[in-house]
């Protein structure tokens, strides 16, 4: 058994054809997840039971089940229902890409909402009291005090979550999508050279992860320039 370096060299371009799809999956899911997460967060901190309980059930379900199962339910399961096939959402659910983005976004939103909640809870109470004493209304306190500080506090945990999402996009290869993982699997099935191919794609993922981590580190540094908390 030999280690074929030429094969790595030849395959990398082919693996990289999947990088576009990997990025699309990642950034679209993360984008929608963030919007959903903010809504979920507001529900959770509202204090109203009819908003808090649905939030808690949602988070419980999406964090308690494997993301692969969620992807399969949406991709394989949803087309089973007439009402989905005939609805305006069908173009999304008919397409594996749409299913993957929906599944990843729903899953990530559960985690991100809890991360944001952790950040919000980390804002020192006295700062909000000072705002109240100055006459600021609750929504003003949220926008000017809670949000800026809470976001900054959330960055470390969010950066880890972002990396998890980067890895989760690889699961899209199980529903026929040709992201980097899908491309790699296709090549392996042709060449029977799992080591060379999978190690190559692993290296690409590692480089990407390294870039993301450094970026978040810089972001956090920038936001923490003038802050003690």
């Amino acid at each position: 058994m030999t280690f074929d370096f030429m094969l790595i060299f030849d395959s990398i371009p082919r693996i990289l054809t999947g990088i576009g799809m990997t990025f699309q999956l990642l950034f679209l899911s993360v984008f929608f997840a963030l919007i959903l997460a903010v809504i979920l967060l507001l529900m959770r901190i509202s204090g109203k039971w009819y908003l808090v309980i649905p939030n808690m059930i949602y988070v419980y379900i999406f964090r308690g089940t494997p993301i692969l199962v969620q992807i399969f339910i949406i991709y394989h399961g949803f087309p089973q229902f007439d009402f989905i096939r005939h609805s305006f959402l069908w173009p999304i659910f008919r397409d594996p890409f749409g299913c993957a983005v929906v599944a990843l976004a729903l899953n990530d939103s559960a985690y991100v909402s809890e991360i944001l909640r952790g950040g919000v809870l980390g804002v020192k109470k006295e700062l909000l009291e000072a705002g109240a004493a100055l006459g600021m209304k609750p929504y003003q306190r949220f926008i000017h005090i809670t949000a800026p500080i809470g976001i900054r506090l959330s960055i470390p945990a969010y950066s880890n979550d972002f990396i998890s999402m980067c890895k989760a996009t690889a699961l899209a290869s199980t529903i026929t999508l040709l992201d980097m993982m899908g491309a790699a699997r296709a090549i392996v099935s042709e060449t029977f050279a799992p080591y060379e191919i999978f190690i190559s794609v692993a290296i690409i993922y590692l480089i990407l992860t390294w870039v993301y981590q450094k970026s978040f580190g810089l972001l956090e540094k920038r936001m923490s320039r003038y802050v003690t908390q």
Binding site: I61, P66, L68, V69, H76, Q80, S173, A184, F198
Partner: protein, 233 residues
């Protein structure tokens, strides 16, 4: 109810699939804890080589998708083993290690890299003053470790460790991709026959939800007991 009727005949397959999930979880858990302990010990040691190896371990396995590691392990070891076995018996086409082991080792390695950081953080989180106080009282290094460091480390590590266990059990679903007959695999078979994918996969979801609920509750109980000395009256 006709919905549940579809599942007739599959109940015991799901049951055995759940047993497989549990088996993989327990095996991987043991490996994960060992890897975490060894890894954190290496990072905390003074040995430069050990540190570098442990750092490489965490960097590689925290940045690589789980499915990639599982596939690499399974097919990679298959190729290696096949080549090895073909030396002795050229007629063998493909020799693999069972998906159970390929999968367990793969997910243990991944979550173990996170556990390394958790244990390392917990170790460093023990107040130095407490350790110094124990040593000043004449308590030996070893006894200080067992009676002062370990209980505190356990308390600090517990929340994150609980999350690692949850990751571990959910990652077992990925092993279905290489043919392990756990619940997701069962669901795929069942879908092929019954053509009712939604309910089949929902059952898998419910099974995993139950497992993660049990783990979460267990961790809550453990956290309560680990923190009981800190609760004020």
């Amino acid at each position: 109810m006709s919905v549940l009727g579809v599942l007739d005949g599959w109940w015991d397959d799901y049951f055995w699939g759940s047993v497989v999930v549990l088996e993989v979880f327990l095996v991987a858990l043991v490996m994960m804890v060992l890897l975490g302990l060894i890894g954190s010990a290496a990072k905390l040691s003074n040995n430069r080589i050990a540190q570098k190896l442990a750092n490489a371990y965490t960097i590689v396995f925290r940045g690589t998708p789980e499915i990639l590691v599982v596939l690499l392990f399974y097919f990679g070891s298959g190729v290696t083993l096949t080549a090895f076995v073909q030396i002795f018996d050229p007629t063998v086409k493909f020799y693999d290690i069972p998906p159970f082991w390929a999968g367990s080792i793969a997910i243990a390695l991944i979550v173990g890299s996170y556990a390394t950081e958790t244990f390392r953080g917990a170790f460093l989180g023990v107040e130095v003053a407490q350790i110094e106080a124990a040593r000043a009282l004449g308590i030996s290094n070893f006894r200080t470790f067992i009676h002062v460091r370990v209980p505190e480390m356990w308390r600090l590590a517990l929340p994150s460790f609980g999350n690692h266990m949850l990751s571990l059990i959910k990652d077992t679903a990925i092993i279905s991709i290489i043919g392990l007959n756990e619940t997701l695999y069962v669901a795929e078979q069942a879908t092929g026959t019954t053509n009712k994918p939604f309910i089949m996969f929902m059952v898998v979801g419910l099974i995993y939800l139950s497992f993660s609920t049990v783990i979460t509750l267990a961790v809550m109980v453990l956290e309560k007991s680990a923190n009981k000395h800190l609760r004020s009256v």
